[in-house]
């Protein structure tokens, strides 16, 4: 699994890094920390000014460095899959029948990168996720400003709507007591189920799986899938609750259930939620909800 953590220099990003470190300790994911610095428009046409627009400055490099140290502090040195290099002697087979003890360096088991891109935060986060084929983007936000980033930018909302992969908007204030996971049909991916499994374990939270029913009642195939999902979690010693909700009461349902700490919405291609929850509603949910929001794709 590849996780991209989009950060800035605010306290909510420090919290997000900690959350991802805990997730990474369970999953041994490849992790990239990405900070985005706004591009400074050159005040004049001089070549020096143009070059300066692409330089990194300000607090971001130091902040990223501190986040890296904080991230790695969640791992014991000997267990850390992100240890950069390991030098030592090892017998290597040079050719059939000939071995030599060589001084080698092993690379880390998993990748951990700290990156800065220059440009528009939303565009750069999405571009990095696409280039690196990220599975999950994680970012925090300032809940006192309606889940925004610096200068009141609605970065989490835009990233959640436009990313091709799953996105977790982690909110600092709310303890995750229960994860409400809205599955709408039988195409939910195994990877998504495992992601939920990890989050349940991580937070020692309870799990509610919501099946969306059309007005004529829940379809048999959805019910079979829910049964399989239930058995999948039981085998992992997780006992989820099942709840049915009608699509017509989707807004009311989300408003009521978003209080538990984390709401996960399966919005893969062709999913009912993708149709039923337009971008404006996803934005509203991320902006208004006290809970963290996970968009699964």
């Amino acid at each position: 699994m590849r996780i991209l953590v989009a950060v800035d220099q605010n306290p909510y990003s420090a919290h997000t890094v900690g959350e991802v470190a805990k997730l990474a300790a369970n999953t041994w994911a490849n992790v990239s920390l990405l900070g985005v610095q706004s591009k400074r428009l050159p005040k004049n046409e001089g070549s020096d000014a143009k070059t300066r627009a692409w330089k990194i400055d300000g607090p971001l490099p130091n902040v990223l460095s501190a986040y890296r140290d904080n991230f790695l502090s969640y791992f014991k040195e000997e267990d850390c899959p992100y240890t950069e290099r390991e030098f030592g002697y090892k017998m290597i087979e040079l050719r059939k029948g000939l071995w030599e003890e060589l001084y080698v360096c092993k690379s880390a088991k998993k990748n951990f990168r700290a990156l800065i891109r220059i440009g528009n935060p939303v565009k750069e986060i999405l571009a990095e996720a696409k280039e690196e084929e990220t599975d999950l983007i994680v970012l925090g936000c300032d809940t006192s400003q309606g889940c925004s980033w610096e200068n009141n930018m609605a970065v989490p909302q835009k990233v959640a709507n436009d990313a091709a992969c799953s996105v977790l908007v982690a909110k600092k204030e709310k303890k995750v007591e229960r994860i409400v996971c809205c599955l709408d049909h039988d195409r939910v991916s195994q990877q998504s189920l495992e992601m939920i499994n990890q989050l349940v374990t991580l937070h020692s939270a309870k799990l509610t799986i919501v099946g969306f029913a059309e007005s004529e009642g829940i379809k048999t195939r959805v019910e079979k899938k829910l049964d399989n999902v239930l058995r999948y979690y039981h085998e992992r010693n997780i006992e989820p609750w099942i709840e049915l909700a009608e699509l017509s009461s989707l807004d009311a349902f989300i408003a009521q259930e978003a209080k538990w700490g984390l709401m996960a919405l399966w919005m893969g291609k062709m999913s009912i939620l993708e149709k039923a929850l337009p971008k404006s509603k996803v934005k509203k949910l991320i902006k208004g909800s006290e809970s963290s929001v996970l968009i699964l794709r």
Binding site: G211, T220, E223, D227, L230, E239, E243, L244, F253
Partner: protein, 278 residues
């Protein structure tokens, strides 16, 4: 030994109900009987008469039996005492009521998936089966740990029928029982939830009196509740609190309508719910 009838269909709710029943049977020493009713005429379809109908019904019975056996066999490894199901053709509620009476069951169990929309729950409670069943009914909404039972007590008139039913079913089990006296908030605002000190002397608030009466009835039969709570809140908030119990039991008088706030509360409880109506 307690004798329970579990209604089964080929659906998720039944699968959950069967697994929950097996867990309960293990804890309280209960004999499970399963039953499926095939409703052939529910959409007004007439399959002919005489020999034609009889042959057709035999075929249906066989198909239903195979399907339900498949469901039972899935659970057999964890619940070896399950026998072959009773399969009937006819009107579901009528057939179940007959079986409950003829078989003198102590408990009827069925699965109803927990729903955000309470309409289906209200319909169930108002149904003929629920109004006329001669034994308590457990509605299994989720497969939850049977760690403890909550007895919901309101104005005090419900103490005797509820405790009598509970003692009959759980008297030989070691399940933890909590007593919960609820009142609903008339106006929006912050409710309260308080654990009652069982050592307090009598002469207390109404809630405490109700709890005291229930405690006395239980302790006379050697059953001692672990905790007693007094809660005042909205039905939704009380239901959320009750989610931590493996079973929530309440008495519902047979005349109670669906606008009753207790119904609203019970419809929102995600755990299994035991209803006593007599």
């Amino acid at each position: 030994m307690i004798k329970a009838l579990v209604s089964l269909n080929m659906d998720l709710a039944s699968s959950i109900a069967l697994r929950y029943s097996c867990r309960l049977a293990e804890i309280i020493g209960m004999k499970l009987h399963t039953m499926h009713v095939e409703e052939v005429d529910k959409e007004g379809y007439s399959p002919g008469t005489g020999w034609v109908r009889s042959t057709w019904e035999k075929g249906l019975l066989q198909t239903s039996q195979e399907e339900i056996l498949q469901l039972i066999n899935t659970e057999k490894s964890s619940c070896p005492s399950l026998d072959a199901p009773i399969i009937r053709i006819g009107e579901r509620e009528e057939e179940l009521l007959h079986e409950i009476d003829d078989g003198s069951y102590d408990l009827f169990i069925e699965g109803v998936l927990h729903s955000f929309n309470a309409v289906n729950f209200y319909k169930k409670i108002q149904s003929k089966l629920y109004r006329y069943a001669s034994c308590p009914i457990i509605i299994v909404k989720n497969l939850v740990d049977l760690n403890s039972v909550a007895l919901l007590l309101g104005d005090g008139t419900d103490v005797r029928p509820l405790i009598t039913s509970i003692l009959k079913i759980f008297t030989k089990s070691e399940l933890t029982v909590d007593l919960i006296h609820y009142t609903f908030q008339k106006f929006k605002g912050s409710g309260f939830r308080e654990k009652v000190d069982n050592s307090k002397t009598p002469g207390r608030e109404n809630g405490d009196k109700v709890l005291g009466k229930a405690e006395m009835m239980l302790s006379e039969m050697g059953c001692y509740p672990k905790d007693s709570w007094v809660i005042q809140d909205s039905p939704k908030k009380i239901a959320d609190f009750l989610g931590s119990y493996g079973l929530v039991a309440a008495y519902i008088p047979s005349h109670s309508g669906k606008k009753n706030r207790l119904m609203e509360l019970l419809s929102q409880v995600p755990s299994a719910t035991l209803l006593c109506r007599r």
